[in-house]
Symmetry: C2
Subunit: 372 residues, 2 copies
């Protein structure tokens, strides 16, 4: 529940109240175009991750430009996407627990839904629920390709689970979820390339094992904004899942992209904030703290002002250090580049969409807080 | 917008879906009672900070037990509190910008509202708006007592601003805001005591200066859960503003409270989470990551399970390290103690209120996301 909107359509950016989550539409759209262009010679399908934007309006734009659907992390996120008009969703996660599985199955009766599994008990639960609803559910085996989070071991263990899915009356083995989350923010291009090479080895091993058992593997899906060109060029992955490329953030900007074919994605997402205190000359306080810009991956950066540095966040305040006699004035509005886009978006109910310094639209972040 | 509720009233805790924000009512109520009891011999008024709970239901309970009103950090937070029935609010912050000041004044026409200032331009803006609305607005001077955030320097600078407020046709100088935020999490009782002693020196200096100018100072307000007993015993502060004491969190629990009269506040706030992956034997993955429990002050802790440690958070996952052959089962639900209660509460739309392992109520967190 947001008690007020920070903007209305048609308002000049200068009048937008703060803190607000600003989306610069020109750079946002260029980012969408750049990603599609970078895949023009690749056979992989694009299925962007909606956990980053949580906004069906953005999902539909990605699909209109060629994406085959979107990914979600949570059933409730997928519900928000379906409610917003998205018809093809991969839940890149395990769905565990009776209530969630019931909702997953209900959703699969209204849209193309696939889900991941990494445990035979979960597979049995999914089959039982699909059976009760008289549907056939697409299930991928998640394999651990190095992120050490969810996922079974590649090779025989993965094949055992795939076999079990294949033999379940109301499930269809849909392929492998093979996301190397740990590789996305390795700083050098070479380190990211090596991490994905190692992930590919694990996919290849698993595919060989599946092939020996005569199990077809229709899909291999994974990849993020930091590595997707490697997966796309692998001849193994059939689908990629980047999420942050429409926005970028400080953490992704810290990656070294030289010797990489990565297109030059621009920052399009900003926290619009006001200077609310200027008492000592070498410091200014802004009204966006850690409830306005997530600091899990470091502090936000200040856009376009090299002599001002966001150095400390408390709940509702940001401390800006000023150097070389530079000053900010009371009430001055500035743009912050979020440290990490996903959890920052999750703090807001709307994107305030800006073109030519004017509010063009407000897009609801309808899966904000969709944790279930 | 939350797409589903994690619980319904009457449901056993075991059935509550995850992640959910659980409030254990018995310990929550004991915390409220303990704080009031610890002030029984003190003349200070209690004005708890609502930035921690963002919930008018909780604010009204605090007021029913003797609080004089609540504090807010944002105008929109105050609007949510007034909408929920709270009638006396101190905004412990500067309100800068025409739109926000207009809303502040509109609110002050419907409830007892006071606000802080640390700049003469802001004082002039407040006076102009109060004049237009034909009201007299209570304004406190915020002084910097060591937190180095907002606030003018104690002494002459603070008195100059107080004088300016006093001489403004539609403002009333209401006293000093003197919050030492930097002291709350100093780990030893002695370090916190010294930090507040130093803050008190700055208050005393400012009061002497005000007195010399014949300016009455009706109120000195400040203090948090970590230090409030020192401010309460100071003979300077007339009002205290603790916010976290109803809940507690990992960060506050890390403070050393020995040789302190601090009552034994209990953890009452938890993130209820499910085990969603158990693939390697020494690790479990839960469905509450950093979008479910803020990690700005460190990882959450696992309640009541000493052989399990929450060691890493990604957006939607938490990695639990298991020791000594201890294991967790797929679907098992456990309680996390949030690292930092305020930003964790801000991720949810409801408290799921539990008594005797059953859902007694759902309390809307109606100021969730109230950033403006």
């Amino acid at each position: 529940m947001s008690f007020y909107l920070p903007a209305t359509v048609g308002m000049p950016l200068a009048e937008v109240d703060t803190p607000a989550l600003i989306l610069e539409l020109d750079s946002f759209e260029r980012n969408l175009t750049r990603l599609q262009a970078s895949l023009s010679k690749s056979p992989v399908a694009l299925r962007p991750h909606a956990k980053s934007h949580k906004c069906p309006t953005i999902a539909l734009q990605q699909i209109r430009r060629g994406a085959v659907g979107v990914c979600c992390q949570k059933v409730s996120e997928a519900e928000a996407m379906v409610a917003g008009g998205v018809t093809d969703i991969l839940i890149t996660n395990e769905v565990v627990g009776a209530i969630k599985i019931r909702r997953l199955i209900a959703l699969a009766q209204r849209a193309q839904i696939s889900v991941c599994a990494d445990h035979p008990v979960n597979v049995a639960d999914l089959n039982l629920a699909a059976h009760a609803a008289k549907i056939k559910l697409d299930v991928l085996v998640e394999i651990n390709v190095g992120a050490d989070r969810c996922g079974v071991a590649p090779g025989a263990a993965a094949c055992d689970l795939a076999q079990r899915i294949h033999e379940s009356s109301h499930l269809r083995f849909a392929g492998l979820q093979a996301y190397q989350g740990g590789a996305q923010h390795l700083r050098t291009t070479e380190a990211r390339r090596q991490a994905i090479e190692s992930a590919c080895e694990k996919v290849r091993l698993t595919q060989q094992c599946l092939s020996l058992r005569g199990l077809p593997c229709p899909k291999v899906t994974g990849a993020g904004t930091g590595t997707y060109l490697f997966e796309a060029a692998s001849d193994l992955y059939t689908e990629i899942q980047p999420g942050s490329y429409p926005f970028m953030d400080v953490d992704y900007a810290r990656n070294d992209w030289t010797e990489s074919a990565m297109p030059g994605f621009e920052h399009s997402l900003f926290v619009w904030t006001s200077v609310m205190s200027v008492t000592p000359p070498d410091r200014a306080i802004v009204d966006a703290g850690l409830k306005a810009s997530s600091i899990d991956s470091g502090m936000p950066e200040i856009y376009g002002l090299s002599q001002a540095r966001y150095c400390k966040a408390s709940d509702e305040h940001g401390v800006i250090a000023l150097s070389n006699g530079f000053s900010l004035s009371l009430g001055q509005k500035i743009k912050l580049i979020p440290g990490h886009c996903d959890p920052t978006v999750n703090l807001y109910d709307h994107f305030v969409c800006i073109r030519n310094d004017r509010v063009e639209a407000l897009w609801p972040i309808s899966a904000r807080g969709a944790l279930l």
